[in-house]
Amino acid sequence: MRHLVILGAGTAGTMIANKLRHRLDRIEWSITVVDRDDEHHYQPGYLFLPFGGYSRKQVVRSRHAFLPAGVDFVVGMIDRVVADENVVLLEDGRRLPYDQLVIATGTTPRPDQTPGMLGTEWRRSIFDFYTLEGAEALAGALTRFDSGRLVVHITEMPIKCPVAPLEFTFLVEAWLRERGIRDRVELVYVTPLDGAFTKPVASAQLGGMLEERKVHVETDFLVERIDTERKVLVSYDEREVPFDLLVTIPLNMGADFVARSGLGDELNYVPVDKHTQLSPEFKNIFAIGDASDIPASKAGSVAHFSVEIFVDNFLEHIAGRPMTGAFDGHANCFVEAGDDKALLIDFNYDTEPLTGKYPFPVVGPMDLLKATRVNHLGKLAFRWIYWNVLLPGRPVPLPALMSMTGKHVPEPEPDQQEA
């Protein structure tokens, strides 16, 4: 019998276990999934927690409930992968030998990596919302906040769900307006990028939305430390941004066992081929989802689309055939804009987010890069789809590879046909 070991039972790991259990012969292949706990979090839900939308119960389920019969679920801390011996060692001494290994342990906010962040002001005036505890603590802080400087801050790219800091900013601005205290609050958006977002068309659109909402944007700001006594962010080039309430997105890093195993880059992400997600060094190690170093968004939609391509590739790979599928970096993200509206962006390695309609031309029903109510309803509906369709590995009627259908191309070449 051959062994497939999947490290991580998040979006990617759970989907892979479900899809491959149906496709791999049960006598020929065992599947083992490892995670440190049995709590699966619907992470997009964190965004709404600080504003009293969603409760803990709506965003947390048990991991094992989403794994099919015929998959062994092991709860334990991973010590390291010994790639030369094809074995995973757990901290409690258990050994899991594998024929094929999938690393899907994601990325985690690491406030310990910025001096001053985890100090005396952590969860007093400094908050994160990328953890359940952080989002809940921030909800409490926001109810007590009625005036001053509210600073939304990104430590360093890449981060998971790169649009979430913008969404939080739009939502908090609308929330302050609803409470009638917007004019008593100075809103500042601090980013290491040179604009609101990474890609030109979306950056201009989203930057314009920040401007309309009178949010001051501080660009090219790379934080060196937080001075907790004076409550200021200090950058490497010695600029300062003072705050009364700081909502920060700490440095994101892959799992520490990746570094201990010698499989990671400087942020513990596993280098893989960006189309097949196979390690160039070890031909039986794949990294899927946020854990890999592919130049795509660290987002659930990328994990989802890449799993669709990965599963067919994997079956070819173990049959000794070349992998014929090529993932294109496809991401599809709702961007909450406040006031019950949202934008939708759809892009990949080569095509930046554009305006247009999705998934069908003209009729949509979703608009790309434009704030609408339908998009907002789509975002809310997605939580149900996530638990009931996506994680169990049921087919989602959206193409895994990005399509140009319905998209408006800014300046088409003269000989290019409009899609």
């Binding site: 790379l222 490497y236 080039d237 942020l267 280098p271």
Partner: protein
Amino acid sequence: MSTTTIDGHEIHVDDEGFMTQYDEWSEDLGTVLAAQIGIEMSEEHWNAIRFLRRDFPENGETATLRRVATVGGIPTKQLFVLFPKKPATKMAYIAGLPKPRGCV
């Protein structure tokens, strides 16, 4: 994508002026590119640029500031002194490498 002539060399550049052909670059060209953005190259500047040039063929991506600091051994603080305000972008420009992707 278009071509431009710098210091008598015809080179391929993108819309923002970043060189697109790894092999069209030379240190002489780097010196000219640096001067265009107000940087006079010292040995310390070259250390950083040479690291980026060595790293690119291995990784297929322009090194991030974190990578230059942790793998290349040049502290981030110093990179901001050498290439003020936008060190990652400026280093890529001088090294004739693609503008660092903002990591979408």
